[in-house]
């Protein structure tokens, strides 16, 4: 009880609120810049938190982490350039909506959904940290493999018009994911002797090239076209009641998916955003709107990537094991303060634990306030002529690719992906399945092989492992549902035709 009161005292002190606000503003900017994400943001912040004391420094880090997960959507929506890997799914519908002149609406959906997701993840962390931690232990390699397969079944949903083209792109992405040091044998594969490729094709370079540079090239090509007309009045922050009614379901499902996936080590916002989008789409009465500026196509992934923050803190607090690179940095910061994360923190430093628990929720609210300050400014970006936007995208793309590892190699690679993405757009191939397959390819492959190593080659492990069985069944359902629907639609049509032929009236 003392711990709770103490922690609230810290959070609502002047310095507590100050670090939360500074963290949120920094996070939004860092998230919005492509290439810079929450983990780089935190590592830059660490040296400045030495003198703050553990509670304040944790508050600042959580605030930056949360807001960076949101900030990635800003450039995704405005420039089709996901600022973070977790905003990749948002770019599809967010950018489509912005091009329709509804940038302001898209940003307010993403801000609201991010806040809802963040608060949901924070509440789950506060109320259920201990029981949820056991979830992280249930997943063995077979389980992770099955989760990855489940994620891959959403390729169909990302394919736009042609499933065949979508599958071609997914196969290309899976092939790219095999580049790098073999996760089991430890030897380099398909690296062409380039040590820059040992860790695999840098995902952000592919992401920025495929999404952003390709779009900039298309813009430059079409520069004769007039600047987009802004139909929307710029500057309002609040979502209309109608939008709430339209999106609350996908916000909720996105929040649950994000929280649960965030708990799993190695699975963060970058995977949760796709799963949440696919789930929302499968449940949506208007799945055909996805890809053309669906509000739910923004709300679901944005709620999910912010909900992963609360989820990722679960294993950190309950087990003392960081589940993501970002939380690993937070462990480093705690150690700097002479503290070691884990269940013993609840007795050793209860006020710190409660500061983290309440801070996660309050950071989301602060993010909402900070984000609404930016919003009118951001939406104005869309009023700029395409030529200016295209140049801006290219500048940020180069900057972001370089920031990954300070290597010019990544910049060249990113530009190469940009050309590939441009050609794909010309030929009407969807780029999203490549990105999805790259994210999931490593997860699927490494866990498939680890599972077989540990079962000594027995394939039954994928069926006897309950988590694996569950997700493989879900994958089947996900694959068969569209087929089933198509069959039914055809049957219904046939009945209509028959009825028409027989001249019967309904």
């Amino acid at each position: 009880m003392d711990g709770i009161l103490q922690s609230l005292g810290v959070i609502f002190s002047f310095s507590g609120l100050a670090v939360l606000i500074i963290g949120a503003l920094l996070g939004i900017v860092i998230g919005a810049l492509p290439g810079l994400g929450p983990s780089i943001g935190l590592s830059l912040l660490i040296p400045f938190t030495y003198n703050l004391g553990p509670e304040l420094s944790m508050l600042m880090m959580i605030s930056l982490y949360t807001s960076a997960e949101y900030g990635g959507s800003i450039s995704a929506i405005l420039l089709s350039t996901p600022g973070t890997a977790a905003a990749a799914a948002t770019a599809i519908d967010g950018y489509a909506m912005a091009r329709k002149g509804k940038a302001n609406e898209a940003i307010s959906i993403s801000l609201t959904a991010s806040t809802v997701g963040g608060v949901f993840g924070g509440l789950a962390l506060l109320l259920l940290a201990m029981p949820l931690a056991s979830l992280a232990l249930k997943f063995g390699p077979a389980g992770y493999f099955a989760v990855g397969v489940f994620g891959l079944t959403s390729v169909a949903a990302l394919s736009g018009g042609s499933l065949v083209k979508g599958l071609v792109c997914a196969a290309f992405g899976l092939a790219l994911a095999t580049i790098g040091i073999d996760p089991i044998a430890g030897t380099p594969r398909f690296t062409f002797g380039l040590f820059e490729l040992y860790e695999g094709v840098p995902f952000l370079a592919a992401l920025i090239g495929l999404f952003a540079v390709s779009e900039a090239l298309v813009m430059i090509e079409n520069r004769v076209a007039a600047a987009p007309v802004i139909k929307d009045k710029v500057g309002h922050v609040f979502m209309s009641g109608a939008l709430w009614k339209e999106t609350w379901r996908s916000m909720l499902s996105g929040s649950v998916i994000g929280t649960l996936l965030g708990i799993l080590p190695g699975v963060g916002g970058n995977i949760a955003c796709w799963v949440a989008r696919d789930y929302a789409r499968a449940r949506d009465p208007h799945p055909e709107e996805y890809g053309h500026g669906s509000a739910n196509g923004i709300a679901a992934p944005e709620a999910s990537n912010n909900a992963t923050v609360g989820g990722a803190l679960v294993p950190l607090l309950a087990l003392g094991v960081p589940g993501s690179p970002t939380t690993a940095i937070m462990v480093g910061a705690l150690i700097m303060h002479g503290l070691h994360p884990g269940p013993q923190l609840f007795t050793e430093a209860p006020s710190l634990v409660y500061a983290i628990l309440f801070g996660t929720i309050i950071a989301s609210l602060v993010q909402y306030a900070a984000g609404s300050l930016f919003l009118p400014l951001m939406a104005r970006v869309m009023r700029l002529p395409d030529a200016v936007i295209a140049v801006g995208i290219m500048a940020f793309a180069v900057l972001g690719a370089f920031a990954i590892r300070n290597l010019m190699f990544d910049v060249y690679l990113m530009l190469g992906f940009g050309v590939v993405g441009y050609l794909m757009k010309k030929l009407r191939f969807p780029v999203a399945p490549i990105v999805l397959a790259m994210v999931l390819g490593y997860l699927v492959e490494s866990n498939y092989r680890t599972a077989l190593v540990s079962s000594q080659g027995d394939y039954m492990i994928f069926i006897t492992d309950p988590v694996s069985l569950l997700f493989l069944v879900l994958s089947l359902v996900s694959l068969l549902t569209p087929l089933w629907r198509a069959l039914q639609a055809r049957r219904a049509r046939r009945i209509d035709v028959d009825e028409a032929a027989n001249g019967t009236v309904r």
Partner: protein, 329 residues
Amino acid sequence: MTINRRTFGTRMAGAALGLALALSSVALPAPAMAAGFPEKSVTLVVWAGAGGALDTYGRKLAELLEKESGWSVKVDNRPGGSGAVGVSQIMTQPADGYNILVFTGTLTFGIAQGLIPFELKDFRMLRAMQSEPSSLAVLSDSPFKSVDDFVKYMKENPSGLKVGGHAPGGFHQYMLYQLMKSGGFESGWIPHDASGKVTLALLGKHIDAAMMTPSTGLAQVKNGDIKLLGVSTDKRSEFLPDVPTFKEQGYDIEGAVWRGIAVKAGTPDDVVTSIQAAVDKVTASADWKKFQTEQFQDSPNWNEEEFTKRAESDLSSQLEFLKANGYAQ
């Protein structure tokens, strides 16, 4: 030209970020110094990304070199290529001591596997400043009470347990290989791509035993969920006084992952002497000792001669291990 472009890029990043990057990486004005090394700001090239254990060490070293020795230091993270990116970075710079590599014991694995296209003689290994052992870990409800129990079971049931740890063909698997040779048993290896996942795999019973750095599962070791059967230090670790070493239990195994600094071969002796003197001031400081204790790090403090000898012997025995397990030709 390349250098110019890099500097330009760094500036762009700094400008875009505004504050953090600029403040942490741009040199502060150096205090008045005696003539000699360093006359300008020194770069610590960390071959891992920001935020990890190596980066934490590199940044503490930078901070204390500034505080204790009056240097101006900037930290340059060069992750990638199993360390090859960071190594190449110092190898393309002049051998003047202004680019110091901050690296780990995986250097010898990288060289042995052909991942890092350099040899030990391309470096002057100046100082090993941190080290952490490996340990054989099981869950507390495991029937094994000692390394002997484990070895006996594995002899009777070859590959009968799922044993795993961080990375394929890395330090922890190498220590298991030593134990296999010393105890005369066979075991498979289930690699994990992050050390945190090893702890979770053990707690979730996806593996039966792990070779891992004790600090990885510290919370569980302390509360008794995870039991350490043996640790690969020479004498009992001051952080784990209750855990017996492998040596005590009759298995002649000793090894540690070290973290340290090196410069390019050909760096003049007087420069190296200045660096050594500056590092001596760091290791003697109370701040450094406090940091080492908080991080659960042993302080080998090997000097150049000992460090080099150690790396050479590591390299030859690891090469044998890697060949035996098909990780190298």
